[in-house]
Every structure is written in structure tokens, then in C-alpha cells.
């Protein structure tokens, strides 16, 4: 077992054990906080596929995060008010069932990622960063000025959605749902990275000319990973909205994109557990420093700076050694 796998295992188990402890100790907020880490990590895992594996630095992943969130918000708000989502040409009812919401969130994000990706992938490098930002901003402003679903105020859902057989209102059960999803997605992304697809994509990131000359289209590889990535982040968005029982355009803002990216970089780009470590560290800092001083952002900034300057390859890169990390 390499140091990285060991570290990943500790991280994964710790993230599981802590909320269990909190449950036992009756500290429900600690469970909520862990759930938040898990969900944001999930969003990061989504981005990390595009960013780490595909080299696609997307500053527009808030779009998918928000689409997932709004999928939950819109469906649940209709269910909450007993009004159908759509009456023509056929009736679509809202729903409060998580699996259905997830499905809608994932499909909607996939479609959005397909369109955004297909157009954005014409560019590369910094241009790609900016064009994805542009699409994200379009959705953001659209959501803000679209009155039907609350505009800037967003949508509140009073009761968390349901999952068959579980009581989602119980923090620990909701945590377990999210944790299971994160686990499944991590497994998927590990598989993906080691697969033929992963190999080709990884090569395309470094030299797309080479990939073409062996008869593989980099564009298709990239579009595929972008869509998968968007789907995962979209799913995370739906969960996040459920965690907060609330969705608003701020989920679509570029700051959100930036924050998801910060998780990834902080934890270690292209590291399987990078986003998990990053989200954990960030939320932890936010939680601990937030109460410390009115000017706690200064300390947060200094700590982040310390990580970039002295911990190359993010948290995991530093703790687990260099192998595997690019850049």
C-alpha cells in the first residue's frame, strides 16, 4: 500500500467515524458539518475529473452545481405547493423523492454540460477557463432575474426530501446517503482514471497531437469527461440544496465555481481524494477560524497561502509524496 492509499483510507474512514461519534455524542451540527464536507467534496470530485484528468480548467462548474440545486428546488417546490411543473403537452408533477430528483439533476446537468462543453471545447487553456466562466455567468444572471423561482431570493423547501426506507430528517441518515454516494463516485472515478479512456484522456491533456496520430479524437474524450464531471457536480448540487433545504443563484455564482476549484487545488489536483481533503480542510478552517476574529479571512488567506507555497501538490501531494501528480 502506498502512502497515498493509506492516507486516503484514513481520510475516508475518519470522515465516516467522526459523524458517527457526533451522533453518539449528540452533536447533530457536527454531522451536518460533515455532510457539508462530503457534498462539497463530491462536487470537487466531479470537477477533479475534468480538471485533473482532462486538464479542463472549468471555472463554470457552479453552473452544474446550481442546475442540480435548482432541479431539487423546482421539483420540491412544486410538490410542496401541489402545483404541477408543467401541464402542456403532458403533466409533470413535482416530487419530493430524492432518487427522482437526483436523476433529474444528473440528466439536466449532463445536457447542460454537453452543450456548454461542445461549444467551450473549441477553445483551450485560459480561453477555456473564461468561456466556461461566461456560460456560468449567463446562467447566474438568468437565475437572478428570472422571477418564477424566486430570483435572487431563491427557493426555500421547508422539509427535506425523502428517500425510500430512510428518514432523511435525521442528520445521520442523510449523512450516510451522501457518504455512500461519495464513496460510489470515488470508486467510479478511480476506475475511470485507470481505464483505457483515462489513459487516452490523460495523454490528450499533455499532447493532443499525439493522441490524434494514434487515431483517437481528443475532442470526444474531453467532451465525455466534461459531461461526466458535470453530472457528478450536478448531483452534488442537488444534495447540497437538500442539505440546506434551500437553493439560490449564489450556487451558480463564479465564487462557487472558484470555491469548488479551491477544494480541488487545496487537496491536490488529479489526486483521487484531493477534493475530499481540500473540502475537509477548507470547511474546517472556516468553522474554526470563523469564530476567532472578525477578520478571520486574513488568517484563512494566510493559511491557504502557506499551503500553496510550502505544500506542493496540495495536502495529499505533501503528505503522500509526489508520484502521480502532474504540473
Amino acid at each position: 500500500m502506498t502512502r497515498e492509499t493509506l492516507f486516503n483510507a484514513v481520510l475516508g474512514l475518519g470522515l465516516f467515524a467522526f459523524p458517527l461519534w457526533a451522533w453518539w455524542a449528540e452533536e447533530p451540527f457536527m454531522i451536518t458539518l460533515s455532510t457539508r464536507v462530503v457534498i462539497l467534496a463530491l462536487a470537487g470530485v466531479g470537477l477533479n475529473l475534468a480538471l485533473g484528468l482532462g486538464g479542463l480548467v472549468s471555472l463554470g462548474h457552479a453552473a452544474f452545481f446550481g442546475i442540480g440545486g435548482y432541479a431539487m428546488g423546482i421539483l420540491a417546490s412544486h410538490a410542496q405547493s401541489y402545483t404541477p411543473l408543467m401541464e402542456f403537452p403532458f403533466v409533470i408533477e413535482g416530487t419530493k423523492s430524492m432518487p427522482v430528483i437526483w436523476l433529474v439533476a444528473v440528466v439536466a446537468s449532463a445536457l447542460a454540460a454537453l452543450v456548454i462543453g461542445a461549444l467551450s471545447l473549441r477553445t483551450s487553456g485560459v480561453y477555456f477557463i473564461m468561456i466556461t466562466l461566461a456560460f456560468g455567468q449567463m446562467l447566474f444572471y438568468f437565475a437572478i432575474s428570472w422571477p418564477a423561482y424566486g430570483g435572487e431570493d431563491g427557493l426555500s423547501i421547508y422539509v427535506r426530501n425523502s428517500f425510500p426506507g430512510l428518514n432523511t430528517l435525521d442528520p445521520i441518515q442523510f449523512f450516510l446517503i451522501c457518504y455512500a454516494i461519495l464513496g460510489a463516485v470515488l470508486l467510479l472515478s478511480a476506475r475511470l482514471a485507470a481505464s483505457p479512456f483515462g489513459l487516452a484522456l490523460n495523454a490528450a491533456r499533455q499532447t493532443s497531437e499525439r493522441v490524434e496520430t494514434v487515431g483517437i479524437r481528443p475532442y470526444r474524450l474531453r467532451l465525455t469527461v466534461f459531461v461526466i464531471s458535470g453530472m457528478i457536480t450536478g448531483l452534488a448540487g442537488a444534495l447540497f440544496a437538500d442539505l440546506n433545504r434551500f437553493v439560490s443563484p449564489s450556487m451558480l455564482s463564479w465564487q462557487t465555481s472558484g470555491e469548488i476549484m479551491v477544494f480541488v487545488i487545496l487537496g491536490g489536483v488529479a489526486r483521487l481524494f484531493g477534493p475530499v481533503a481540500g473540502a475537509l480542510l477548507f470547511i474546517l478552517l472556516e468553522h474554526v477560524l470563523g469564530g476567532l476574529s472578525e477578520y478571520w479571512h486574513i488568517y484563512l488567506g494566510l493559511l491557504l497561502l502557506g499551503v500553496v507555497l510550502f505544500a506542493r501538490g496540495g495536502v495529499i501531494g505533501t503528505l503522500a509524496g509526489q508520484g502521480g501528480k502532474h504540473g
Binding site: Y141, V159, R245
Partner: protein
């Protein structure tokens, strides 16, 4: 047993000024009362709704607070208040008053100690009538509170509209809008542009030489902001439920104490924070927090000396109060407001009718 209060407010970033004012006002009232029965947890929401929600969760689940308060912005209030009241926590709004929470979404645990969002704009409309303005150009940012602002103004205003614009949220340059105002033949301009947007607009308006009378809600003429606007704001009429020269003993004491404590004049937001704390204290004097019904009844009675004078709650637990017209003046080196009249008396809001409580 002390009452635990969770204050979620904006203490970092561009909107921090408002949160700081609310907090300072609130704390001042507690300090003056000398009570040891209130324990306050203050946290920074960074003006992000999801952070506010997380903080609310923390305060409810971990700090076990009885009462939440402090939120500055409507969208954050919308994120926190319904969920909090649904969990049986009392929410006292020291600033935002979105219509959704005043009408259908009203709740016995939700109290607004400031105003319903439309109020000051309605007052501006009423003032425009009384000032004989006949052809207003109106503008606000394109988001729910902005829509409410224009709707509120139009509800009371009886003249014609020379033009109506929704600007971009966070916009900093208004040259294009100013050109349209100039060309519109308006006789006055009503604007609602909170925070930095208002400062930018006012400076640019003054520099454009358009010179038409301006009307607006108090937000852009707040004590803490006026110093940044400077001469550009001089003489502008604005509407507010409070001003530092309101003639009542509670207010005089508040202004003096605030100045002594923090070394600056209190702002509108500070007055609201102060009132919120005093409302809470008045309820605590009458009932114990463990007796929810009695405590809510005590809050509803609003038996405290508001710095704005008359104050009571309507059926939707939003204020019924007078709204005044103020004018920006310079006192020595300091830009401030002076009262020049009353725009609306004993005003409540139109959404109260929809509230079934």
C-alpha cells in the same frame, strides 16, 4: 435561565458595514440594560445564503439558541427564516422584510422589527405626490427587492412615469442610464440602489449635471454611507422610519450612547438593531422563554420604547409605524439627515391581508 440569541450577520466583505451597524446597535441595547440573561453568539454569514443556512443549523443544533436574528439581506433571510421558524425558533428580523414572509409565508415565530421591503419605497411615492412631482424616472436593480421597490413606489405615486429601468445587480457605471434620464423629460428621479451601487450612482448623477430632484429610500443616504457620497447627496429627499433627530427620549438617549460607545453617529441599521434588542428585552421582562406562547404574546405586544417613537406590530407581525421624509444636510464636516416631514402615518404593508395567522 438566560435566553440564547444567535446573530447571523454580514461582517466581512463589501456588505460588512450594515452587519456591523446592526450588531453594534443590538449590543449597545443589551449593554445599557445591564442584563446578564442574554447570551449572544455572533457569526459572519459572508453575505452568502448557504453559509447563513449552515450557521443557522449550527446555532440551532449546536449552540441551542432560542432566538435568531441579525440577517441583513432579503435573500439570506429567505434562506434562513422559514426553516428556523419551522423548527420552532423565533426569528427577529432587524432589517430585511421580503414580501413572501409578510404575506402568505407569515409565521407566528417570525417578527420583523424594521419594515416590510416595500415600505420606504411606498413612502417615497407618497412623498413624490406631496412634493408635486409629476413625471418620475424610476430605477432599481433587477432582483426581487428591486422589483419590490419599483412596485412599492408606483403603488403610492400618482404621477406619470418618464421611464423605468432595471439595472444590473452590482452595476458600477451608470452613464447609459443617466443619458436615458436626461433624454426622458422627467421632472424627478426615484432610485433604489443599495450599497455601493447607490454611491456610484449619486456621484455620477451629480457629475452629469442633470440636476433633477432625486428621491429614494433611506438606504443610499444612511449615516455610514453619506460620508462616502459627500456633496453629491446634499439636499436629496429620502424616506425612513427613523432619523437621529427624531424627537423622543429613547432616541436621544440612543444617539448619545451610540456616539459615546463607538465614536460615530448611529445609522438606520444601528437603530434597527437597537430596537430589536429592546423588543427582545421587553418580552423577557414579561415572560419566560420556556413558555413559548406567553413569550410570543409578549413580543407581539411590542412593549418597548422604540427609537422611532410609535411602534406596534400588525397582524402579520410587521411594524405599523410612521415613515418620514428626510433631507441630506451638512452639519459641520459631517453629512447627515434632518427630518423634513412625514410621508406616511401608521403605515403597515399591503401583504398583511394575505397573512393567515
Amino acid at each position: 435561565e438566560p435566553v440564547k440569541v444567535g446573530m447571523i450577520t454580514t461582517l466581512s466583505g463589501g456588505g460588512a458595514g450594515l452587519g456591523v451597524a446592526i450588531r453594534d446597535g443590538f449590543m449597545l441595547a443589551l449593554k445599557q440594560s445591564g442584563t446578564t440573561d442574554v447570551e449572544v453568539v455572533v457569526e459572519d454569514d459572508q453575505q452568502k445564503p448557504d453559509v447563513a443556512v449552515q450557521l443557522a443549523d449550527k446555532m440551532i443544533q449546536s449552540d441551542k439558541v432560542d432566538i435568531l436574528t441579525g440577517i441583513v439581506w432579503s435573500n439570506l433571510a429567505m434562506a434562513v427564516a422559514p426553516a428556523a421558524t419551522a423548527q420552532g425558533k423565533i426569528y427577529l428580523s432587524p432589517n430585511a422584510g421580503p414580501s413572501a414572509l409578510a404575506g402568505k409565508g407569515c409565521h407566528p415565530y417570525y417578527f420583523n422589527v424594521a419594515w416590510q421591503n416595500d415600505n420606504l419605497h411606498e413612502a417615497a411615492g407618497a412623498y413624490a405626490n406631496s412634493a408635486g412631482l409629476k413625471n418620475s424616472f424610476i430605477l432599481a436593480p433587477n432582483y426581487p427587492a428591486g422589483h419590490d421597490a419599483l412596485a412599492g413606489y408606483k403603488r403610492m405615486y400618482k404621477g406619470d412615469l418618464a421611464g423605468e429601468l432595471l439595472t444590473k445587480l452590482g452595476q458600477t457605471d451608470y452613464a447609459s442610464e443617466l443619458a436615458q434620464i436626461r433624454a426622458s423629460g422627467a421632472d424627478s428621479v426615484f432610485f433604489f440602489l443599495p450599497g455601493g451601487m447607490g454611491i456610484s450612482f449619486l456621484k455620477q448623477y451629480a457629475d452629469s449635471g442633470i440636476g433633477l430632484p432625486l428621491v429614494g429610500p433611506a438606504f443610499s443616504f444612511d449615516q455610514d454611507i453619506l460620508q462616502a457620497v459627500g456633496d453629491a447627496a446634499l439636499g436629496v429627499h429620502n424616506t425612513s422610519q427613523w432619523n437621529k433627530d427624531l424627537d423622543n427620549p429613547a432616541n436621544a438617549a440612543f444617539v448619545a450612547a451610540f456616539l459615546a460607545e463607538y465614536g460615530r453617529l448611529p445609522s438606520l441599521y444601528a437603530s434597527q438593531g437597537y430596537d430589536t434588542a429592546n423588543l427582545l428585552l421587553s418580552a423577557m421582562a414579561k415572560a419566560d422563554i420556556s413558555d413559548k406562547d406567553a413569550f410570543l404574546a409578549a413580543l407581539r405586544a411590542a412593549d418597548f420604547d422604540s427609537v422611532r417613537g410609535k411602534f406596534s406590530f400588525g397582524p402579520n407581525q410587521h411594524p405599523i409605524q410612521d415613515i418620514y421624509v428626510r433631507q441630506v444636510v451638512k452639519e459641520g464636516d459631517i453629512y447627515t439627515n434632518k427630518l423634513v416631514g412625514v410621508a406616511l402615518e401608521d403605515h403597515s404593508d399591503v401583504y398583511a391581508a394575505e397573512c393567515e395567522m
